[in-house]
Amino acid sequence: MKRTLDLQSNIHTKPLKKRILENWDLYLLLIIPVALLLIFSYYPMFGLQIAFRKFNASGGIWGSPWVGLDNFKRLFTTNKIVQVFINTIRISGYQILVEPIVTVTFALMLNAVFSSRYKRLVQTISYMPHFISTVVMVGILRQILNNRIGIYAIVCEQLGINAVDVWSLPEAFPHLFVWSIIWQNLGWNSIIYIAALSSVELELYEAAEIDGASRFKRLLYIDFPTILPTFAVLFILKVGSMMSIGYEQVLLMQTPLNLMYSEIISTYSYKIALEQSSDYSLGTAISLFNSVINLVLIYIANKLSKKISGIGLW
């Protein structure tokens, strides 16, 4: 019996060579994209080895002398790395805790609006900022919050308060950064929740209403469970990208006076390698350290989510 089954499956699975030849043109198509993937995504990963070498221009990635963990030793003997590490955790932790709550609240509020035309209008306007470039977004923010000529200065003058320069106040940086991100992505991130919520059948709400469920109870027992799976997956993704917060935006929002709170791992690594000292090896060591923490975080977050809600990325 087993033998005949094997024979049958052999008839269906053709030899590998034939399967490839049958669709040879499919593999021809793959040449360019796979080459791009290998060159621009995978080759730089091999470049990470310079974190263990003393990079010089003539030796390059493959020929510079090995130095073992020297770059990491140099990295951890400076106080700067501790501060930069804390700044990164502070900003991304703040963002991870606040952003999902605000987004879900917004989606639930919008879902509770009955007029569908008004709902669509609000939604459309709310995700427009997502497409504004970082440069323009930070530009607008800097203009508005300028303490001499911005709207902020005018309001403070009217209220008779002294307008503090928020751009030179280190403590203000995490708030400026996180809330500007929330403003920019609120509508966009809520699309997926609103779509999930709109899949709830109206009869379910009506039945709950007849059973005497208050508005809050309906929210708690119908809306929440509906968005929970989406929430879990997005939350893992957020935690996984915790260490890679938008350095482009941070760079634009930095001033010499707020660096104490605004210098994060990625901007620090960039500056060491490409702006200040051209120390490619040290810069790469920092960014490798960052990436490894990142990978560990996403692994843990995925495990936890699987345990708690049964939902995981893989």
Partner: protein, 245 residues
Amino acid sequence: MLISKGFSLDGYKAVLKDGSIMTGYINSIFYTVVGTFLSIAVTIMLAYPLSRSDLVGGKILMAMVTFTMLFAGGIIPTYILMRNLHLINSRLAMILPGMLGAYNVIIARTFFANSIPKELLEATKVDGLGNIAFIIKMVIPLSKSIIVVLALYYGVAIWNNWFSAYIYLHDVNKYPLQLILKEILFGNSTDMSASSGSSEEVGLDALSESIKYACIMLSCVPLWIAYPFLQKFFEKGVMIGSIKG
């Protein structure tokens, strides 16, 4: 004080008189059009084969694409690579590195896998047409909506990209609009000099401030014009992306 001090177009005049904004505009349009077109082409070339269950090694290739979303070499190794490829100060630096977005490949693959009927492929094969002819004659016409979504995602990403230009380009005449804007809004360095509060500067500020506002407005105009037409496609992209393929 809250009322504006009158209407003036001085800011716009100053901006338009300075050629750099116009050059930036033209460069950005070039990078966006060429980059978006090439990106879509290679994305389809990768995503369509990946959507086929009979592709040998498809699972490994898919894992390779997904892995780039979790881990990357980072800016410094990429910068060294670009230097070795002699792409520093080349217009190609604005197009090549971002040509394959893993997320975009995944949504395109999901779309192809779910919306191109298998019978269609079999019928084409009976007619003696190969896979490439099938893609051009059948897949692309049936996938207009996902192509618009890809065009939006790639187009917006290239249009808004200032950082690649900042590290790879040296000639001002190659700068995209966003980098020109960055220099006008924040000055040349990433560390904008701290604002000093002396009162004599305020008068001088007025024109430079209206120049800044004018720049912001001018850079947003293309988006505002395109937005009402494209808006429904944005959501579509999010929804396709959320289906686990």
